[in-house]
């Protein structure tokens, strides 16, 4: 009798085994097998919400006082600031190189996992939107990496110029190999173009990519490639959906305001954050010539900048408020990009119209005198001046220096550090910043020559 009991017990135990063994071991863990879990992964803003920021830190909108340089900057920050040539980025996946590639990995996991989820009439909108977000973030990240770690795009030489590794699957056993610059930009464009028909037009928060965001980013990327026709068309498409500008008169500031704008302001189309790791908002000071170039009635003087006890100005005008610097696309950038493209196409009046539409919102009510120009070339020159003044700390300046120098602008960023003089001559090989040494060592890919 007792033996029988025992046999039955063991038998029941065996039957219940397989079911027990399939149970989920941790309720806070999951595998990306459902649309909601993939979406939650793409919403992991700590990762996917941030971009790298060394491009702006390498540009010429700010300076750092010697005391700050000596006392507060880390070795890595000093390396970036002084355009150092070796090990200027931390050897970690959370660095300038690793962060955007991490974003790409999240996108690749999302795209791969989506393959196992059938598209049905019920889920097609969500399915497409998630695929679009993943493609958008992947393309955007490739662009940001290329912008910092590859030389500027020039159609004439891009086949022979080193681009960046284009990782399109999450399989980390695949070796990282640098593609050509042509292939790199082809991938960037194709990812973003593929995302356009998939993304939603309106999203719950600019932290999520949307159709106008994809148009806007494509406009910026084509501008960086000096394809001004395409840049204008994409700016048109974006502005057709989102064109609202803030009137800065309605945004009050006081001497102690630390952050002027809200992170859900109406100009914000796509909010990507850049952590303050490279430019320390509290310790970096705005280039004095740049500050002096604003008119006394220009509200940006107070909305963007704040006087510090040392007599210099720091920045407080992030469209992401206190969450970080704003690396994404906003309507003001699109107006000014379109203005530039129009001027280059010889359409002086249309160009100035876009420029004045924007600037009137930046001046004290009733004080703005619309800008005029003798010809398209004059308009272009004025637009480029205004572009720099509008897009401070918006992660476009480095890109602008690179592309404009290819056209002979001769912009030379300079630094004075502890009595020593540094400069970054136009079209220097240093415009492709050195890739972290351990990545080079582990992957065997070629390093960017620094001279």
């Amino acid at each position: 009798m007792k033996q029988l009991f025992f046999v039955i017990t063991v038998g029941m135990l065996l039957l219940s085994c397989e079911k027990q063994l399939e149970e989920k071991p941790d309720k806070s863990l999951s595998t990306p097998q459902s649309l909601s879990s993939i979406q939650s992964m793409l919403d992991y803003y700590v990762y996917t919400g941030y971009d790298n920021g060394a491009d702006e830190a390498s540009a010429d909108n700010y300076f750092v006082r010697d005391a700050t340089y000596n006392g507060w900057l880390t070795d890595a920050q000093r390396g970036v600031y002084s355009w150092g040539t070796v090990n200027i980025f931390l050897n970690t996946y959370q660095s300038e190189w690793g962060r955007p590639y991490g974003n790409i990995y999240y996108s690749n996991v999302a795209l791969q996992s989506l393959q196992d989820i059938p598209k049905t009439p019920d889920n097609v909108i969500e399915w497409n939107d998630i695929a679009g977000q993943a493609l958008f973030k992947r393309g955007a990240s490739f662009f940001r990496i290329a912008n910092l770690f590859a030389l500027p795009y020039d159609a004439a030489t891009s086949d022979a110029t080193m681009g960046i590794p284009l990782r399109l699957t999450p399989d980390f056993n695949e070796r990282s190999v640098r593609a050509s610059l042509t292939e790199t930009y082809r991938q960037v464009i194709s990812d973003l173009q593929a995302s356009v028909p998939l993304l939603k037009v309106f999203v719950m928060h600019p932290a999520r990519p949307s159709k106008p965001a994809a148009y806007g980013l494509l406009s910026r990327i084509y501008l960086s490639m000096r394809n001004y026709t395409a840049a204008k068309l994409y700016a048109d498409s974006a502005l057709a959906i989102r064109s609202q500008l803030m009137n800065y008169n309605s945004i009050p500031v006081s001497a102690s305001t630390a952050y002027t704008f809200s992170n859900s302001n109406p100009e914000s189309i796509y909010m990507s954050l850049v952590s303050n790791g490279q430019i320390l908002i509290t310790t970096a000071r705005i280039d004095t010539v740049l500050y002096a170039s604003y008119h006394a009635d220009d509200l940006r003087k107070t909305r963007f900048f704040r006087l510090r006890p040392d007599g210099y100005y720091s920045f407080r005008g992030s469209y992401a408020s206190s969450d970080g610097l704003y690396g994404g696309v906003a309507t003001d950038e699109l107006y000014i990009t379109r203005a530039e493209c129009l001027a280059r196409a010889g359409e002086k009046d249309a160009a100035l119209n876009d420029l004045n539409t924007l600037l009137v919102t930046r001046y004290k009510t009733g004080t703005y005198v619309p800008i005029t120009a003798t010809d398209a070339a004059d308009a272009l020159a004025k637009i480029l001046v205004e572009r720099r003044k509008e897009l401070v700390y918006r992660f476009t300046r480095w890109m602008d220096i690179r592309r404009l120098n290819l056209e002979g602008a001769g912009i030379t960023p300079k630094r004075y550090i502890n009595g020593q003089f540094f400069e970054l001559p136009p079209n220097s090989p240093k415009y492709a910043r050195p890739i972290p040494g351990d990545v080079i060592a582990l992957s065997g890919m070629p390093q960017n020559p620094q001279q």
Binding site: C17, L21, S28, M41, Y47, S256, D323, A441
Partner: protein, 1049 residues
Amino acid sequence: MKKIFVFYSLLLLYAGNAAAQTTLFKGRVTGVSGNVSVQTTTNPGSQVQAIGGNFSIPVAATDTLIIIAPGYQPMRIAIDVSIPQPLVIDMTAAAKALEEVIVNTGYQKIAKERATGSFTTVDNKLLNQQVGTTVLSRLESITNGLYVDRQTSGLGQPRFIIRGLSTINGPASPLIVLDDFPYEGDLNNINPNDVESITVLKDAAAASIWGTRAGNGVIVITTKRGRYNQPMRTEFTSNMSIADKPKLRSISNISSGDFIGVEKFLYDNGYYQAQLTGSPWKAVSPVIELLNLRDQGKISAAEADNRIHALAANNLTDEYMNYVYEKGVNLQQAISLSGGTKNMQWIIGGGWDHNADQLSAKYDRYNFKTAQTFKLTSRLDLNTSIDYTQSRSAAGKRGISFSTNTGSLPVYTRLKDDNGNALPVNIDYLQSYADSAGEGKLLDWSYYPLTDADNIEDVVKEQAILANLALTYKPMKGLSLSAQYQYGRQVTTGSRLAGEGSYEARNYINKFSELDSDGNIQYNLPRGGIFSSSNATLETQNFRGQVNYSRRWAAHEVNVLAGGEWRTRQYNTGSQFTVGYNPDLLGPMPALDYVHPYPNFLTGAGEYLPGGGSFGATVNNYVSFFSNAAYTFRRKYTISASARRDASNLFGATRNNRWTPLWSAGLAWDISNEYFYKLNWLPRLKIRTTYGISGNADPARAAVTTLRLQAPSPFTQQPSSQIVQFENKSLGWERVAMTNLAVDFASRNDRISGSVEYYHKKATNLFGYAQVDYTSVPIDGLTKNVATITGRGVDIDLQTRNITGKVSWSSQLNINFNKDKVKKYYLFDKTSSAFVGGSAQVSAIEGSPVYGLYTYQWGGLDPLNGDPQGYLGGVLSKDYNELAGTGTKLEELHYSGPTLPTSTWSMGNTVSYKRLSVTVRITGKFGHYFQRPSINYSQLYKSRTGHADFANRWQNPGDELYTQVPSMRYPIDEARSYFYANSSILATKADHIRLQYITLQYQLNKVQCYINANNLGLLWKANSFGIDPEYNNTYPAATNIAVGIKAIF
């Protein structure tokens, strides 16, 4: 023992009444020397002497022989005339019957004599030479083959290692088994007074029955039980132990005067300028604040000088010693009653511990235990037990290790003024700045190190129950079927109230305050305390069905067991966080806006209100099948084998290995039982060998992409998840194969007894943290099954009885040698900086130990300016970025040796005279190295972490002749600091000998009084820097003195 003897004798007398017809029976006694006599139960009067082991005696047709040897328990053997004669009778087992060691594997209890595997047993007599609240803390110095690792466990708890490392990155702790089932609850809940014995399963044959969790060895704890036919027995223990104040001064720190000099130097160089102008609200040290006030013209230079001068007289360590730390006092009482009748055995007991540590943290524990076994029928036993523990721990004061966002407290900080009032320090924000910005309307924004803890009530309560139910049915002789069930539940609830007076609450309230246009303070966060609560429930259930067959024929002995078990473990957690809590006015809490950021009062940066909660749940299910068999022939030859298969519901990794079998086999040969064995001086000699494979499963590793839910995105307010495991299809279990070769021996009268064991283990498939190209995956390194290590060692266990008689002296010696070596490690990264970094750094270079001390070759100080120098390609260099970066090749690093000892020694000597006995335990660790701390200028500037070496730094040319401490430099040069901190000049030998404990016991009738002094410090150390290598950079365990009594009625 004496009672059992009497009981047996009575039984024999009773049996003796059945007298009958007699014949002559011949036999031979082996395994014992000296005078052996033989008698029968039918005729107890007719005793014969065995001459040279041979005897012949008249017996009845069925009879029982009783063999009596001096110093041995009588042995009874049932005979009848049909048995072939002469019968060989092996007395070895009988001899051991006097002190037979039973080892408990958790699945069976076997006599150590007949085991092939390697076990260390610690009985409660040895365990009770020390006093303490927890069981495991007593094992360190007395357990053969067990090492407590404080070197490589980093800042975490010391970890237990059995017979050296079996893993590099997998879980390294042995499995703890309590009363037959794996114990996953709080180890502090086990009352040491309830423990009967502890068995450590060291080799594969002993441990592999535990399968995938046995790779690191197993510690089996068995609690006390009653006995059949035992009159009631009461055991009572009471003790008090006092722990000294910690030896704070053993960490050498920079002097106050020197540190003030450093701060002035930094200030003059403008180090603080960016902060003082950019973020004037940020806390700075008092000296910097005074210098700044002086430069702003708010105080005179003379006043600043005077006030700074006054600070130089303070010493933070003294302040902590005098005002914060006290002596710790632990009280422990335990009582147990046990007994048994013919059909029942029982025990009931309880314990109470009350501890107050050196920082006034309180711990109270109540244990209650009851266990019974009933013989329901002659064939069916029922066993039940319940253990209940309740504990409460309350956090105490904050110790000297307290550090703020801006670093440690300056060494010249005073905690108390001359009137006895607690003094404030600024840790996040500057009080003077906040006062002017807030027009004096903010709450005090200072932190009071001395009294802050008074405003915080941080209590953790735990209730745990462990219930066992077992039925054993014996349908026929030798066969038993058992079904065991264990239910465990542990509920831990934490509650922490940081009252409004605490810094934490004031800081939050101030941060989220706003000054409106009328100059009134608006609180965005309600006034009151911050209350957080947490709860965790651990529930385990085990069910085991097992068949045992154990039978002995004349020359054969068989022990077989087989069974299956199912185990489930559920762990649920939850936490809550509430602001504006008023313990006297409870009710619904106001709804707060967690979605929008509020500006920080001083910095203006948007910050989100603290709040919310978090919940978690894990479920682990395991199914296993196991079997173990042993066969002994003529009590001389034993073979054994075991096998086990495991499966679980863990993601990925284990799925790949589901049902992988693990096995072991063993052989033992008792040479001293052979006919030809003639060594009279060594009556006992046995050799045994085993080989087997066990596993090491890590629930934290998975082979599929795994997401973990994180806090919702503050922007979309949607759930967000992080990828915590990256798809890694080839990941599997670690496997540990071990070979064991051992000799057990005992000289005549056990004057010298013990064992020598040699083992070799090979751990394959080890998780290796291989650096990866983070272009391909967002992590710096990934776990792969890439490494292989081997370990070999010798465990020597010696017991000697040096003097017997009125004064007796016995010794117990454990010597453990162990060396591990990395055979294979998949290393992408050959960057030398990945191999330096002190003791906790896995160096894992093929051919070297897992943990080795690698340093940069030291090239002395530059005679011109005192810069440290190293070598790049054999040439003196000061290019620190290259030296500490990619410039130094792996081969150029200096290798000192392993950071874990290659041999550990422990010797206990007990001298007894009449009722008094004294035990002295000395331990030693040899063959390892550690990196000595010195002044690190980066840390000194950035976080105020100083070192006394500062005083010996190079200051003027010529200093390099007598010092190796680099000069102070500004600006901060991280690479220079890193190079020096990891240079060979600081590599130091760690060998040392320690006086672990002295115990004095006095037996007064049934009462034993004892005094135990523990952690008595070092007797010898190889280094000349005054550092206890076990406690490098931390405070040595404080000396502990306990007095107590133990009574048994």
